[in-house]
């Protein structure tokens, strides 16, 4: 067992874990933050996307020990001016950017990372930035519109 310290959403989480523990399991089972989903568990679908040191990563393909002494933002860490929702979250509400919602936590994190880097992306740039996130419901049209809504109405980071 190895002592791992990860700052998640501004709060320090310290747990002794096996070296083989994946970051997504540290987040869900040790830190008890179950907003981050395990989808394909093979770094394809992006449902487990979180921000690690401000950059989007698939937490099913990062070891918790690799994230020791680093900071993570999960969907629970998104908040902002729209009644507690961030601009990206409010965009998903306004433009119906989800149906079943399973991919949504990862989508929100990938979209948040995109708008932090590029506050007014073109449609092409949005689609390129979301290549790592799979949605089986929406056909992506409404997700693209949700990002465009957030870009128009201000980001909170």
């Amino acid at each position: 067992m190895t002592a791992v310290h990860i700052n998640i959403n501004g709060r320090l989480h310290h747990h002794d874990v096996e070296d083989r523990t994946l970051l997504v399991h540290f987040i869900r089972e040790n830190a008890r933050l179950t907003g981050t989903h395990v989808g394909c568990d093979s770094s394809n679908c992006g449902a487990c996307t979180v921000l690690l040191e401000e950059r989007a990563v698939k937490s099913c393909t990062v070891l918790a020990v690799q994230a020791d002494n680093q900071s993570v933002t999960t969907v629970e860490g998104l908040s902002g001016p729209f009644g507690g929702l961030s601009a990206v979250q409010e965009g998903f509400r306004q433009e119906h950017g989800l149906q079943c919602g399973f991919c949504t936590p990862g989508m929100l994190m990938a979209c948040t990372a995109l708008l932090t880097e590029n506050p007014s992306p073109s449609e092409h740039e949005i689609r390129h930035a979301l290549e790592g996130n799979i949605c089986r419901c929406t056909g992506y049209e409404m997700i693209v519109r949700s990002v465009q809504w957030a870009a128009r109405n201000g980001t909170d980071k």
Binding site: D19, R20, S43, T49
Partner: protein
């Protein structure tokens, strides 16, 4: 899916990485971005006893231009290469190729050295590095040695890096000749079904054999004065593509001819 148990060792210098490799022998694997290795470990296709994490070794990270050579540290992540002004200006083929690796999350973690040392012929960067005549430097207990890209890839998931060596950096010659990278995928974030890279007179192919290949027949035909369309018909000569869930061998041969032609045409517009 959870990897089989292993011991995690984080090192902060190449010397420490080499010592750890000496201690753990062939049971150890180097870990950088982990985006080739961790998926294999989750599938139990790889079960190393020790993981030596070299991602925070400063001497392995960074991009420096000296004279006509761009040196890229092996643990430099794809997004750093993709967005580097120096790489974009001096070796645009490499920056563009890096921008097509996997997806943004993969590019945020994966490293050029990891991609190259994994030795998958369907990966993007090895194909462009082969067309660029890059030189890989590996370091072992007995010192450093330079391996040209054309001698680096030995077989399926096999490279010139010995189990007790570390790939430390990749040197890429700066050139202003025409370039192109053509990647055909069925899904947006996929490995290449087939890919083709052109830099000047050099043409390389990915996923047409166990290792990335130079399309020597095409290069010779162009040198001999044949048209692009004539030369491209030779793109699958000397290749041995496999049939798998992505494509049949025949379809890959067809793709190689089309992608090489497209790449040569695009490169010509950039001369």
């Amino acid at each position: 899916m959870i990897p089989a148990p292993f011991t995690y060792i984080r090192v902060s210098s190449v010397a420490d990485a080499l010592s750890a490799l000496q201690v753990h022998g062939e049971e150890a694997k180097l870990l950088a971005g982990g985006h080739s290795l961790i998926p294999l470990m989750k599938l139990r296709l790889a079960t190393p006893q020790a993981l030596i994490d070299i991602s925070s070794v400063n001497e392995l990270v960074g991009i420096t231009l000296s004279g006509n050579v761009l040196r890229i540290g092996a643990a430099t992540r794809h997004f750093e290469i993709e967005t580097s002004e120096v790489v974009r200006k001096h070796v645009p083929l490499l920056a563009y190729t890096a921008s097509l690796v996997g997806d943004p999350q993969v590019r945020n973690r994966g490293t050029i050295g990891g991609s190259v040392a994994h030795g998958d012929s369907a990966s993007d960067l090895p194909v462009s590095l082969l067309a660029l005549d890059a030189v890989m430097t590996v370091q072992g207990a007995r010192g450093k040695r330079a391996v040209p890209a054309s001698e680096f890839f030995l077989g399926f998931w096999r490279t010139a890096v010995a189990p007790d060596e570390v790939l430390v950096h990749i040197d890429v010659p700066v050139t202003n000749s025409g370039w192109s990278y053509q990647k055909f995928t069925i899904r947006s974030q996929d490995w290449a079904t087939v890919s083709a890279a052109v830099q000047g007179d050099a043409v390389a192919l990915g996923a047409m054999a166990e290792i990335p290949l130079r399309a020597r027949q095409v290069e010779a035909a162009i040198q001999a004065g044949n048209t692009v369309s004539e030369a491209s018909r030779l793109a699958d000569e000397g290749t041995s593509p496999s049939s798998d869930t992505r494509a049949s061998a025949d379809y890959r041969r067809h793709l190689a001819r089309v992608l090489v032609e497209n790449a040569l045409v695009e490169a010509a517009t950039r001369r």
